[in-house]
Structure formats: C-alpha cells, structure tokens
C-alpha cells in the first residue's frame, strides 16, 4: 500500500484532488438544496425580477401595465399594499407567509418560500 502511494504521479494526485473537490462541492450543493425556503420571488411577465429575503422588512415598488405596484414584506409575511389594477384581487389577498399572490392585469406573481422545503418533503405540487 505504502509502495502504491509512493508511486503516485502528478496526474494521479490531480485526479484525487478533482474527486475530493467534487465530493466537497456535493456536500455544499445538497446542503443548499435542503435548506428551508425563506425567499420572496417577484416575477414580472413570467421572468424573475427580484429575489428577496423574507426576514428583512421592506417595501418594493414594481412597474406594470397599470403603473407601480407596492409590495410590502413585514414580519416574515408579504402583501400587495397598493396596486392600480381594476379588480384589486392581489390587494384583497392580504398577507401571506407561504404561497402565491397573482396580479393578472400587471402580469405580476409573488412567490413566497416553500419550494425548497417541498422538494425536501418529496412533493411536486400542492392541492388545496
């Protein structure tokens, strides 16, 4: 065994290093995938516009077909505080700590956390 280790060349060592790096990277990647989601993703017209932490209180203004929509993050909850769309469905939705708020006229979707946790539970979708 000692003989074998002594006989290793630079190529062998590089290969070992590569394999070890891959394993370490794997630990970090899986750790990230398993961490609980606590993000607010704001999508405009099907594309992600903002990804914000749920634990930091703030106000975000997002432009859309009906002017600016004011989104409020407070105490790990999110709501549409102000919108100029005709039906106001998004405002009526109120505060959410998980799930989705949709404003169709402004083509706006606010997704709150959960997806990583769902993956952890082995769930592809939720009904109800």
């Amino acid at each position: 065994m000692k003989e074998t280790i002594k006989n290793t060349t630079l190529a062998d060592r590089l290969l070992f290093l590569l394999l070890i790096s891959l394993s370490v990277a794997g630990i970090f990647i899986s750790r990230d995938a398993l961490s609980q989601g606590s993000e607010v993703v704001i999508e405009v017209d099907g594309k992600p516009a903002y990804t914000l932490p749920l634990y930091e209180d703030r106000l975000v203004s997002v432009g859309g077909s009906y002017g600016d929509t004011l989104i409020e993050i407070k105490e790990k909850k999110v709501r549409v505080r102000e919108a100029h769309c005709p039906n106001q469905i998004c405002v009526k939705e109120g505060w959410i700590s998980k799930g989705v708020i949709v404003c169709l006229p402004n083509k706006l979707i606010i997704i709150v956390g959960g997806s990583k946790k769902d993956e952890q539970l082995g769930i592809d979708a939720i009904t109800g």
Partner: protein, 338 residues
C-alpha cells in the same frame, strides 16, 4: 511517468460516476405564469431546455386563449355575453365554451345539483374580503336564479341561453380543471410524455418522473396550525388528476362562525359537513367540479356519489375525521397524527 496501475482504475471510476449522471438525458423543467386569475405551474420531463420551454409556452398560450373565452370578469368573454343576454336571447359560442358548459351541466345533473354553475347570483352577494354577510332576504331572493336546468344548450347551433333574466353562469368551479386538461393535451401534442400541470390546486399528472416514479402531490391540512403540519397527506399520481375544495380558501369568521365560499346551491349558505374534499379521477375537469359537489353533499352522500361515478375521494369532515374510497389504497399516505 504516469502510474497506469492506479490511473486507469481511477479514470474508469470517474467515467462511471459521470455516466451514471448523464446516461438518462431526460431532465425536469418547470415554469410558472399568472393565468386565469391564478398561478399556473407546469413541470415537464424533456431532453432539452428548448423542447421543454417550447411545449410549456404553447400550453400557457392554450390556457390563456381558453381563459379569454370564459373570463367571468371580462366584458369581452363569451361567458359574459351569455350572462348579459340572460332572459333575452341565446348566444353563439365557440366549441370550447360549449364543451365546458355541457360538462358543467353534466356534473350538475350527476350530483343532483350539489354542483351548480348558475350559483353566480348567490356568490356575488358575499364579500369574503370585507367580511360582509348578505341578508337572509337577499339570499332567499336570488335562490330563484340558481338552477342549472335553466341553461339551454343548442349543440347543433352552438348556442347557450340562460332562461331567466339576471341569471349568472359562473364557471369558476370547473374552469381551472378544464384548463389543466387542455394544457396536458397541448404538452402531449408537442411530444412531452411526462409532466405535471398545476392550475392553482387543480393538478393533472402524466407519465413518470426522471427517477421512474409517479408524481407526488401534497394535500393541504384544512386546519393547519404551523408550517410543520401544512400537509395532511401525500398522494402518488400518474395519468390522474386531483382537486381540492376547502372551507379555508376564501372565508371570514363572524361571531365564532366560519363563512366560506362553498355555497349550497339549494340554500345559498355555506355547507358545513366538511372541512376539505379532494377528488382523484382521470380528468381534472371532473376532479375540479366533483370536489365542490362532494363538499356540499357531505361525507356520506359524497362517498356514495364518488363510488357511483368511479372516482376516488379523500374527505375530511367537520370533526376532522378522514374518509377515503378504496381506490386510494397504496397511493395515499396520511401524515402522522391523522
């Protein structure tokens, strides 16, 4: 000089490691969009991002076009034209609109009116956001406008007529399921053999995931207390749809009583025999409407109807007891404490 004795086995090992990841070229792709006044998420198994995106975008377009036909709130929709002309004249509609109304009437008939797409005038009286409970007199007055038998469909001429003035056809209890079916059909036409379409909580799954396993759908706990007990059960689905109707979706509490959006078409008041009902069947149009019907009927009559229709159901009654049909054995997994 390279040590071949050690180098080759390691190289072989690395190749095996990499090939185990790439042997199956199929991957999972997911996209979401705001459609039908809700959140639509489509997941597909495909060999490339381009194939997946093209198929998903096409499915979104199909849902969007369908939504324009049956949007209750848009003056331009065919559904609004039917409602505006209630008691006046029949309205010519496209095959899709005719088809969904036909299906809605069929489910209304089979459920003995527990599901009724003419519930519109009663729903309009309630304001769940501002916690406004309508007066008993108003509820009674509008009841005469609720009856699916007053929908006159002329298939030959492709027309729909609501017999009484002020009747309102509301397809909100069936449209999302119908849209999920349309989307799955559109994905299959684009060559996708496995995927999951979720139009809010109306979900249809087909084919198997990349790990050759069926899709897993979580069913929400109607009386969730923390983030730990959000899911009451998990179900494995392939080639099946699931929908859930619950008293926790749109509701308000007044003097200790829960007022929710699942109104009994016979009384105009919320139905109280269940907390939530999930229905599993081949088509999402069926699961969407029958979940409402079973909720209104309650656990006993609901399970009877499910058996009669050859569909499966998970019913959580007003005392949080769980009732299921036998078809869910082996695919439904209740979480602990239930």
């Amino acid at each position: 000089m390279i040590n071949f004795r050690l180098f080759f086995p390691l190289l072989l090992f690395s190749c095996l490691l990499l090939s185990s990841c790439s042997a199956d070229k199929m991957s999972t792709y997911k996209k979401s969009k705001a459609l039908l006044d809700t959140f639509v998420a489509i997941t597909v198994v495909a060999d490339s991002k381009e194939t997946a995106e093209e198929a998903i975008d096409n499915a979104f377009d199909v849902i969007e076009k369908f939504g324009e036909l049956i949007n209750f709130y848009s003056d331009k929709s065919e559904l609004s034209a039917v409602n505006r002309n209630a008691g006046i004249r029949e309205v010519k509609v496209s095959p899709e609109t005719l088809d969904i109304i036909e299906k809605a009437v069929y489910i209304a008939e089979r459920s003995g009116g527990a599901f009724d797409p003419t519930i519109g005038p009663e729903i309009q009286l309630w304001d769940f956001f501002n916690k406004i409970r309508p007066s008993d007199a108003d509820i009674r007055k509008n009841l005469s406008l609720v009856n699916y038998k007053n929908i006159i469909i002329d298939k030959g001429n492709s027309t729909v007529f609501l017999k009484k003035k002020d009747m309102l056809l509301d397809l909100g209890g069936i449209a999302k399921g119908y849209a999920a079916d349309l989307a799955v059909q559109a994905l299959k036409e684009k060559g996708i053999s496995a995927g999951l379409v979720a139009v809010a909580g109306d979900i249809k799954a087909f084919g198997l995931k990349t790990d050759k396993k069926p899709w897993t759908v979580g069913i929400k706990n109607p009386r969730q207390k923390s983030s730990e007990d959000e899911i009451i059960a998990k179900i494995h689905l392939s080639g099946k749809a699931i929908s859930t109707s619950g008293d926790y979706e749109r509701y308000f509490m007044l003097n200790g009583q829960r007022f929710h959006h699942l109104l009994n078409p016979r009384t105009g008041y919320p139905a109280y025999a269940c907390q939530s009902v999930s229905v599993i069947a081949d088509q999402a149009v069926m699961t969407d409407a029958f979940s409402t019907a079973l909720f209104i009927l309650g656990p006993e009559k609901g399970l009877e109807l499910a058996k009669e229709m050859g569909i499966d159901a998970l019913i959580i009654d007003d005392k949080s007891s769980v009732h299921t049909t036998s078809g869910l054995e082996g695919i439904l997994f209740l979480e602990r404490n239930h």
